[in-house]
Point group: D2
Chain length 183, copies 4
């Protein structure tokens, strides 16, 4: 069992990353910072003759790294009450991969994975972050991933998340659960 962390944020050592560190701790993980890659918006060609054109960007590089792990942590700051645009660009492109002859078993592979969501926002995330969680539920249901848990943290200024005791105890608890799974 290996763990991949998909970071949607843009700040280095932002609150989302700090909270995610509490989840990871000493576990071996691969960290994928989406902001370091170019991901073009999907061009919806599902119903165009010939289908999707190949896109010249870094999406498949990221995808291959994601596909190689058993457990995925989706770690995103809450921007405007949902995942970052960067993370959304990445997920939107799954629609293309679902039609991509080079990934014939994309859905099958995804549906063997487990996922956790780690999301930090400044405006009442425990309440106003709930639609985001519902969307992840629908996303994971569609692609077949098992939604194992989530933690919503509060924080705006750097390190503010360290004051959110509830988020920290949930992060610890997810850590313990992950530790059991990877050992």
């Amino acid at each position: 069992m290996t763990i991949g962390v998909i970071y949607g944020g843009t700040r280095v050592k932002g609150n989302t990353e700090t909270l995610t560190e509490r989840v990871i701790q000493d576990l071996p993980v691969e960290k994928i910072y989406l902001k370091d890659y170019e991901i073009k918006p999907i061009n919806d060609q599902r119903h165009v003759q010939g289908g999707f054109e190949e896109v010249n960007d870094d999406y498949n590089i990221i995808l291959n790294r994601v596909l190689s792990h058993d457990i995925l942590l989706f770690a995103t700051p809450i921007y405007w009450y949902s995942m970052s645009g960067t993370m959304k660009l990445f997920i939107d492109r799954w629609s293309q991969t679902l039609k991509d002859a080079n990934y014939p078993d994309f859905k099958d592979v995804m549906s063997s994975k487990k996922a956790y969501v780690i999301a930090v926002g400044g405006d009442s995330p425990l309440l106003k972050g709930l639609p985001l969680i519902e969307q992840f539920q629908y996303i994971f249901d569609f692609i077949g991933i098992s939604f194992e848990g989530y933690v919503l943290g509060q924080g705006n200024k750097p390190n503010a998340i360290l004051q959110d005791e509830q988020a920290l105890v949930i992060a610890e608890q997810i850590h313990r659960s992950l530790k059991q799974q990877v050992n």
Copy 2:
């Protein structure tokens, strides 16, 4: 009262645009196709000394067009149960504009506007599109826009939306309401 339509989709004459046409009909509107512009992901520098660096893309061009209208139609296909990544990139950047000395009254200007959401998806949008509507509610509440109404339509294949009679009657009803406002 003038109307601006912000399109988040990537397909020409897709279902979202077709449904939006039923809302607009003969009303004069400005159509803004986000896909025709370059919008870079936000780089969260709210807490960096010196604040946000200027970004070299088309965001401000779009923003200026949006700010000039009294009524905004946010028209987006539902990709993975929320707005398109392209539209999310645009909205994420509002956080930068809120700190931008060139737009000191951004929030004030926005809070004089009215908005409608038009969203079309293939997987039970009347149920699985509800978190998206809740997010728009939070977005509009934060920035001060009055959320006047929405229509969720069903459709995947080109023109499928024309079979969604409920969406069409709601679009007609929003049209009548807009017509009264702009006259």
Copy 3:
């Protein structure tokens, strides 16, 4: 195909009933006014030896009427952002029926039915009524009912619903759909 209407409201000719009349019009329906019956709160005895004790109230009378129809309209005022307590009492008791030897095929029978929800509230029902719709989705998913549609109307004072043009056009559209099904 026969239609049963389950009314959760307490007002005679309230807004919910008025909106429901627009859905029904000339169609033959059986109207079940829950307020006219005694429904005791469920006593959760799922894990008690001997199981549920028989309850001396009108629940089974209502249940039998509900079970006899193919299409169910759940018509409830929105009290405090969800269905009326009266309607909730009725649905809570389904847990008992699921264990009731007198109704061995309760879930099977329910899962052949179609349902619509008609709900009217005074405080932004198109936004704040969405959690209620999500709950009905979960309820129907659990019991196997097909959730065919819903209309959320706005109104507080008597007949205020007649000003909610969008709710009225949706009610009309549901009416047309029902008419096709029962003919």
Copy 4:
């Protein structure tokens, strides 16, 4: 600062009560078991001449006890994805109290209170319990109560909640927060 616990469940020592005990521990609280009282469904007479008739049941007894506390814990099993019908009957009646000349400052008094929600369900409460949390948010916003936190636990069979480690750590964390407030 005193604490009142409003129990909506029907089982003695059910999972909701067990989880609530982890929140309370050694703190002095008053426990109000709604099932031990008679609460009649509201009869919506807001728009009737003369207004609400007096109701002959135990509602005002409960209300007076609730009003006497600074911090309220709403502890309910999740029945059919929302609060128990019993708890809903109690909250529905607030509409009557809002018009009751004997409680002229009902809303004022309520708006000085803080509340927590403790809810336990058997079917994915961390996901399918979210609409319930959103409803409590709307309820508390309307009446002016400050929504301080919540814990969603999983459990069906007696004591199953003791296996839900995440719920237990959140309960502990709420306990520590309450302890600071009452001391």
